[in-house]
């Protein structure tokens, strides 16, 4: 990467009393990217966002925006703007006044003509032209969301911060807004940093996903990378649906390990970290990598317990003797009566390379800080 | 008496009331506090353990076990009521008032519940006119001796030959001066008002009471204290408006200011003057040689008194010189009764504040009912206060 990163964290730690919310994060966010900070509540993602915004100061380390150390720079002097959770729109101002609020703070002062022109553009950008004189409480949730967006963007920030911006919207609106946000980011070309606990949202919208857990960055990568090549068991489990099968390393051969599952079946799995013979592992198998067929072939045998037909796909809960319940997802092709019925025995197969083995122990540590670090900050 | 929960307390309610009265005595004077605060209905209840003691045999009539009296703050020796209860079994509830006007309002409204009260001379004719006080049955007041009373003080209690009220004590309205701050000797109302605008600038108080404030302003010109004449009142108003910006306060609560040294000179009633002088010798009490007010407080019985027998019994008890002398020692105002004066210590009788020389008393006038109720004087006072 040749360009100066828009946002850079250098060994940033944030403590609240005895509680460490963020511990030793190093992170560089490239320019003009849509980046999602993804993690369960309490993982430190919001704290990171607030440190960029200037609402929190790191206990240790540096936060840089476009190469400038932001230590001691108050929020109102930072070239970033934020879309707050539940928007934090000013209830005593109308839509246009909300949007032009930032413009009015500019020094030297902008002419009122420029202010109203730019506010008008921002309104048009979020498709709210003509709503300028509305009161905030007269707007729907989706409209408020657009006002918040326009208000943050009208100042032409270097980076736009979004704190769970879609959490308050219903599902249909959320999907629309996801697309809109993506288009907007591409149009404007500035960096968007999105904080979310919704992995689907992170995967669908962003160029990069930064998965956080326990105050640390667990994995930074493109969505497909995060999904296909999770760095550890936590990521594998947190991002997308997966089946986790317990077993022991029975043998090693190059990149692959042979894992003996609880029922004695041995399967070959790829590994992300060195493993030793006899080590307890969890094997991750994505539901869509499982294939079902009539009994007789396949690595595992089971009985269909449940079937959810979703049109293009069907999801099956399959009981495997000695292992437990597995989730499988099969494409549905029109005209082929390939649906299995509950109670039917099936054989389960998977492509070579689909199973991923992770050390078992690591799972215990991943979520341990969750209780201490509430997302709501002190 | 069985052991009571009170025995273990550091202070009993009785003692607390005594302490409170002692605290109030000397720092807050008669009409001011309650009148000022509008708390005329505030009641200091001294009656305790009602109806426990049986009525002794001496009473010919059934006196019941309780009665109530309306009077002024710090005006009685609390022991008097204790003793009365011990003798008769009647517990006395004491209601204290800030002004005659409040007493009148309460009585006029009916249902006051009082069997005895203490009106000032100039209100008695009004009470009689309104028909709300009793013509006293003197047969029940054996302790009262009209011959031992100074006729000057009894006069206003008698209307058309009928006795409606008997005197409690009398007093004068003069002014108190802090002689350390205002060393020039003074002896007249003219000097009072002139000093208020000169050496006493910002340090002089006048009553928040039209009767005395206007009356003493009239005295500046030698007019009657009770004048209702337009031209005379106009002159008084002119003087009052001229003095107003120089005043420390328009208030009848003058003891705190005088004691603290904030005020150097004030219009003052006898008993307050005596108390101030007793505690702070440099505060002198002066009667204007032009005259001014003399007053008598009376005892009277309301027509609707719920317990007239007890009212008469208490009044008769209070007319006993041996009882009355203690009352006078407690409240400090001079007595109207020669028999009481005979029992008072020499230093009290020799106190010129309480018993001024005859030539000073001579020009003094009793306030008249018409003076007090005159709407024109009320408006004049309002103009003075709002100037």
């Amino acid at each position: 990467m040749t360009a100066v990163p828009d946002i850079e964290f250098r060994a940033v730690t944030k403590r609240y009393g005895a509680v460490t919310a963020v511990s030793g994060i190093d992170l560089a966010i490239p320019p003009s990217a849509f980046v999602a900070l993804l993690g369960p509540s309490g993982c430190g993602k919001t704290t990171c966002l607030r440190m960029i915004g200037g609402f929190e100061q790191p206990s240790e380390g540096q936060v840089l925006i476009r190469g400038r150390d932001m230590a001691g720079t108050p929020p109102y002097r930072r070239p970033v703007n934020m879309v707050f959770q539940q928007y934090a729109l000013f209830p005593h101002l109308d839509v246009e006044e909300n949007i032009s609020y930032g413009l009015r703070q500019a020094r030297p002062r902008l002419s009122s003509r420029e202010i109203s022109q730019r506010a008008g553009e921002a309104l048009a950008m979020v498709q709210l032209a003509g709503y300028g004189r509305r009161k905030i409480h007269e707007l729907s949730g989706g409209q408020q969301q657009r006002v918040a967006l326009a208000r943050a963007l009208v100042n032409k920030p270097a980076v736009l911060l979004l704190d769970e911006p879609l959490a308050a919207l219903d599902k249909k609106l959320r999907t629309d807004m996801q697309i809109e946000l993506q288009n907007l980011q591409r149009e404007i070309g500035i960096t968007f940093v999105l904080v979310t606990h919704d992995q689907e949202e992170a995967l669908s919208m962003s160029d990069f996903v930064c998965v956080m857990n326990g105050g640390r960055v667990v994995q930074l990568g493109q969505p497909s990378e995060i999904y296909d090549e999770p760095a550890d068991l936590f990521v594998a489990d947190f991002v997308g649906k997966t089946n986790l099968l317990s077993g022991k390393v029975a043998g090693l051969s190059g990149d692959l390990v042979n894992v003996a599952l609880a029922d004695g079946t041995v399967i070959a799995a790829r590994k992300r970290v060195p493993l030793s013979r006899g080590e307890a592992v969890s094997v991750s198998l994505r539901p869509e990598s499982l294939s079902l067929s009539a009994p007789g072939s396949g690595a595992l045998k089971g009985i269909v317990r449940n079937r959810i037909f979703l049109g293009s796909t069907a999801e099956y809960a399959i009981e495997v003797q000695g292992i437990g319940s597995l989730l499988a997802k099969a494409d549905h092709v029109i005209g082929q009566g390939n649906l299995f019925k509950p109670g039917e025995p099936v054989a389960i197969g998977f492509a070579a390379g689909a199973p991923l083995a992770f050390p078992h122990a690591k799972n215990n540590g991943t979520n341990q800080r969750e209780d201490q670090n509430a997302e709501i900050l002190p | 008496m069985p052991k009571s929960y009170r025995d273990g307390l550091p202070i009993t309610p009785d003692k607390f009331v005594d302490q409170l009265m002692r605290l109030k005595r000397g720092s807050i004077s008669r009409r001011d506090f309650l009148g000022l605060t509008g708390l005329g209905v505030a009641t200091a209840v001294m009656a305790r353990e009602l109806g426990i003691t049986p009525t002794p045999a001496f009473a010919a009539e059934n006196l019941g076990d309780r009665m109530s009296i309306a009077t002024w703050p710090n005006y009685h020796d609390p022991q008097t009521f204790e003793n009365f209860k011990a003798d008769t079994g009647v517990a006395v509830e004491v209601n204290v008032f800030g002004s005659n006007e409040e007493m009148l309002a309460k009585l006029q409204a009916g249902g006051s519940g009082w069997s005895l009260f203490v009106p000032t001379n100039y209100t008695i004719s009004t009470y009689k006119k309104l028909g709300i006080i009793e013509a006293l049955d003197m047969a029940k007041l054996g302790n009262f001796d009209g011959k031992s009373e100074d006729a000057r003080f009894t006069a206003e209690g008698t209307i058309d030959g009928t006795i409606y009220a008997v005197p409690k004590n009398w007093g004068t309205t003069g002014f108190a001066v802090n002689t350390k701050k205002l060393s020039k000797p003074m002896s007249s109302w003219k000097e009072f008002w002139d000093t208020a605008m000169a050496e006493g600038d910002g340090r002089t108080m006048v009553h928040d009471y039209q009767l005395t404030t206007i009356g003493n302003a009239l005295k500046y010109y030698g007019y009657s204290f009770n004048s209702l004449k337009q031209d005379e009142l106009a002159k008084a108003e002119e003087l009052l408006l001229k003095v107003k910006p120089h005043l420390f306060a328009v208030s009848s609560d003058y003891q705190p200011g005088m004691r603290a040294g904030d005020a150097w000179m004030t219009m003052c009633w006898t008993n307050d003057g005596a108390q101030l002088h007793r505690d702070i010798p440099e505060i002198a009490y002066v009667l204007g040689k032009e005259g001014g007010e003399i007053w008598t407080d009376f005892y009277a019985i309301p027509k609707d008194a719920p317990n007239k027998p007890a009212g008469y019994a208490l009044l008769n008890y209070l007319m006993n010189p041996k009882v009355a002398v203690k009352e006078h020692l407690a409240n400090g105002a001079p007595s109207t009764d020669a028999r009481v004066n005979a029992l008072l210590p020499k230093e009290v009788l020799d106190n010129p504040i309480l018993y001024p020389a005859a030539d000073l008393l001579k020009p003094l006038e009793f306030g008249a009912a018409a003076t007090l109720t005159d709407p024109g004087r009320a408006e004049l006072m309002a103009r003075f206060k709002s100037a």
């Binding site: 929020p75 609020y101 009161k135 | 309104l130 328009v250 208030s251 200011g257 709407p375 206060k385």
Partner: protein, 314 residues
């Protein structure tokens, strides 16, 4: 039946079409009646209280105000507006009151706002309740007692006596306009602090962050967001204190030496000294009307400034 044309018909006509129709009508009405009865019973004491101690006295005062003063004082039945015509005789008192009330309320506000601001936004959470209690508890003592305490503090044996030690002699603090203002601010401070505190407490902190995020300095955030959004509380406190000050007479009398004449003093004199009840009643009625006007104006301003749809006065 087209969807747009459908309207629910009365129960007896729908024949089971609507779910409400399947319910018998009487139990519904019965429970509704019971509910109303309970509500009525619960409200009765308050309503009775209002009627006996507010409405009836007000009616009595209104009747007095068109009467005449009896020769011995008090009230005499009549139907005349002479008392109202005489109102200019107390014009100075009205004027003094109309000056004192807003100035007193303003002084109170200037002291109360920083205190409320500190309590709501700056004080550590665990101290808040204690600090609030310290503000409210003195309020439980009678205003008269507390004002008397100030009389002694400001009187010659109080602060002036202390100042005499450092050579400042014969300073008079009591019975000055400053003393009155001090007494008013002290006496009414909690009434001003509490509504402002509540409005600041309710303030969404994210709005302050949003303002800072949009480039506003702390001062412009305070002026543009904090102050604006606490205005309903300010107006509540202001009108509350102002209305009480319209009837105030104790503090000016005790700490001002009774030299300035307010409506409250005029009323006390008319009822307790000159016993001119009808004129006093006419003044009282006028004062009530003035208070109502103040309330309405305050409410209007408050609604407009805050952009809220509704303003709670208490």
């Amino acid at each position: 039946m087209s969807e747009t044309g459908y309207k629910p018909k009365p129960d007896n006509a729908t024949g089971g079409l609507s779910s409400a129709g399947s319910q018998p009508a009487f139990p519904m009405r019965g429970s509704l009646f019971r509910k109303n009865l309970v509500t009525t019973l619960l409200l009765a004491p308050a309503a009775l209280w209002l009627v006996v101690f507010l409405v009836l006295p007000f009616i009595a005062i209104a009747i007095f105000s068109v009467g005449e003063r009896a020769p011995e004082g008090g009230y005499q039945a009549a139907l005349t507006f002479a008392q109202y015509a005489n109102l200019p005789a107390r014009a100075t008192a009205f004027w003094n009151t109309m000056v004192l009330a807003p100035i007193g309320a303003l002084a109170c506000l200037l002291v109360a706002y920083p205190v409320a601001y500190y309590l709501a936004l700056r004080a550590p959470q665990r101290w808040r309740l204690i600090l609030l209690a310290m503000i409210v508890i003195p309020f439980w003592t009678s205003l008269l007692m507390r004002t008397y305490a100030w009389m002694y503090i400001l009187g010659g044996r109080g602060i002036p006596a202390l100042l005499a030690y450092v050579g400042i002699e014969d300073l008079r603090l009591i019975n000055t306009p400053g003393a009155v203002l001090l007494g008013i601010v002290y006496g009414y401070l909690p009434l001003m602090i509490l509504p402002i505190y509540v409005s600041l407490e309710r303030l969404d902190r994210r709005l302050l962050e949003a303002s800072a995020d949009l480039g506003a300095t702390p001062l412009s955030t305070f002026l543009g967001v904090t102050l604006r959004l606490s205005l309903p509380g300010v107006m509540t406190g202001f009108s509350l204190v102002m209305i009480l000050l319209l009837g105030e007479y104790l503090i000016p009398t005790l700490l001002g030496g009774g030299k300035v004449f307010f409506i409250g003093n005029a009323l006390v004199d008319l009822f307790l000294q000159s016993r001119n009840w009808p004129f006093g009643s006419a003044i009282a009625i006028t004062l009530v009307l003035v208070s109502v006007v103040v309330l309405i104006v305050a409410n209007r301003i408050s609604t407009r400034l805050s952009g809220a749809r509704r303003v709670d006065l208490i």
